[in-house]
Symmetry: C2
Subunit: 461 residues, 2 copies
Amino acid sequence: MVAVTQNLENTIDELRTLLGDRVSTNKTVRDTHSRDESWHHPRQPDAVVFPTSTEEVSDIVRVCAQYNTPVVAYGTGTGLEGNVVPHRGGVVVDLENMNEVLRVNPADLDCTVQARVTRKQLNEYIRDQGIFFPIDPGADASLGGMAATRASGTNAVRYGTMRENVLGLTVVLADGRIIRTSKRARKSAAGYDLTRLFVGSEGTLGIITEVTLRLYGVPEAMASAVCSFESIKGAVDTVIQTIQLGIPVARIELLDDVQMDAVNKYSDLTYPVKDTLFIEFHGTDNGVTEQAELLQSIASENNGGEFKWTTKPEERTKLWAARHDVTYATKSIRPGCEIWATDVCVPISSLTDCILETKKDLDESFLIAPLVGHVGDGNFHLGFVIDRENPKELAEAERLNERLVMRALAMDGTCTGEHGIGIGKMKFLTAEHGDAVAVMRQIKKALDPSNIMNPGKIFSI
Amino acid sequence: MVAVTQNLENTIDELRTLLGDRVSTNKTVRDTHSRDESWHHPRQPDAVVFPTSTEEVSDIVRVCAQYNTPVVAYGTGTGLEGNVVPHRGGVVVDLENMNEVLRVNPADLDCTVQARVTRKQLNEYIRDQGIFFPIDPGADASLGGMAATRASGTNAVRYGTMRENVLGLTVVLADGRIIRTSKRARKSAAGYDLTRLFVGSEGTLGIITEVTLRLYGVPEAMASAVCSFESIKGAVDTVIQTIQLGIPVARIELLDDVQMDAVNKYSDLTYPVKDTLFIEFHGTDNGVTEQAELLQSIASENNGGEFKWTTKPEERTKLWAARHDVTYATKSIRPGCEIWATDVCVPISSLTDCILETKKDLDESFLIAPLVGHVGDGNFHLGFVIDRENPKELAEAERLNERLVMRALAMDGTCTGEHGIGIGKMKFLTAEHGDAVAVMRQIKKALDPSNIMNPGKIFSI
């Protein structure tokens, strides 16, 4: 313990030599970096550092490696599974100064950004060039953080997730080495796919400092619609048939009646309090019309109402802002509460069963948990509204979460579609991947033998 | 050396106990398994085995691991960079008995196949269900082999490569452990992306025995067109503008004048001997018409001729068969020759320059090398027509190949878009990836410490 304390003191001394006043041990700063947006209990780091370059991140990691000090990279802190909570203390590397768009290649439809550039910041930056970056997890997260957690969100059904949209990364490894995982070609068969290895590794293999991303031309036409259903089955069946028919819908989001009620109240809207789909179409004028007609007819067959259209940009923005504010809307159900957000993803043919069984669990429980989902991918979320100091509520959320996850796994799905493992889903990793987890550990040990990179996340070592 | 020989004898003895007459040391069988379709010099394995299950593959690898015997998985032998040439001898695992389609889930648009199912076999199997698997590298390769080399081909511009279309793998590791890399959800944020790690690892980390793949609904409308250009620049600029405009073309292939001449002669066709695009559109009737009109107008601006349409299935098949037969067409230029096939991929804005500079090299050389490419991805191939016993021709192909690769790398491209590193591109790996190659080696050492899995491919250890 004395050795640990001494190591920490040495780490902080050397970091001060390196960074001067860009090392903070201030309580407020440490407090800010002790949590994410989840219900998970905070833990203060011993210091927070603010590098300005990949080389400085490398120097910081070298110092931490020398003293076996944990290192946790921090973007916007908008994670939902405790992914950046430094629960073994150590140094948090806040990348807030690394927020520059480095290169935009409109002709190649790609760009390279520093890790702390957020998705909205990037889209603002490139808006005038008729291009955009579609991946949209709701929060205005950093692109480095989104890569680290393999984020996706509302547009993934059309454009894929960070897995498909990261072309390359600059990464600082556990011993301070700096690597570039890939050049800018759209495809390559040259060696192991290190890009995809670091995407989703949640900072446990290295710190992502730069991200090269695919971009897309802004479609000629975009239109959004809202459609209410008499039953959640009708809504989900509409989604399933849409996907099976290959209609290239850009977004297709389910909000259950509980969620719609919260959204109406929070965002001052007057939608029917019913199970509802929010839909968006991208394409040519004709293409969008064609898609919309097809989907409307599928919805009608499943007892859906008429589409309410929003085609003006400001109306579309308002609609999706309401969708994105579900977390805050859910929080407003019970002031002072925490939201235990969880997400699973299943093969699309099992989605109706998975949601109906889950709703049955919720109907029988004393906890409230609105349901919202990127259902086009087979992915949906629950937000358990809890007081995390109340053991009974925590235990009930844990029970329902476990039932949800085991149900998804039994349907050949995953314990998390997009939030990552972090702290919260660690116990399900082996249930999902079996012996493959041993291979993940072998890779972790090969690249971070002293276990200093975001230790205790994904799996304990 | 005595120890090596003894180890080999012990390996073969134990394999015979395990597999009986499904172990062959027959010269003809070993000869068949000594090569791929490339110019690379063959090397006979010491034995060839024919397992019937993942468990048998596991048993085989355990035996080989015990005696430090190299193991090379073999599918159809249609690789182009010596990827399966057992150039350190040992045991070739021919998966020809593992050719069963295990499960098709039309409702989820996915399927699971044993590794030796070929892409044509799969498409034949599912044809009646209105679904198809789009990845098409030309050869009727095995799906396990396609996963192992991260194959792509003509449809990748629309549907992605094996990287995007493999949902999960069953893999036998270097110590015989069997893992499943993923469940069937379309997306997941649960742990390291082992699927993508094994896709493209060319058998150096394990043997792929089962593959779960994405499938797609057969589009309502498909139409193909051929368009000749006055210059290669016009053809390539047409492609670039098509991609930049986001026209969702399914295939857009360039064949240069040299290649068209060979194709005409080999496939008994009468296309103009000019730089030519082969194009295919998938979508709704209206969508296809819309795409075709847009592309025709772009082509016209770049001095392209009229589109020659083929909409009937049998005509489309004939057209693409001619495209796929380019290797054989090229071989027929000079009977008895070998084809040194090489491929690079660059960001699309550099494609015209890359092709023009490459054509200039070829104009100044005594070697013939038709050019053909999946240009929508920025990917193109040369096929040097050589006598591999002629040192002067070999040296010239090597010189031209190196210039091509270094040019692509200088343009932020890759040394191989889809053929893999194998033996042929090993010397370019560090030029492309720099210090990241050390990370690949660390992973290789962690998962295959004795270096028995396809040793000496991708990098030497």
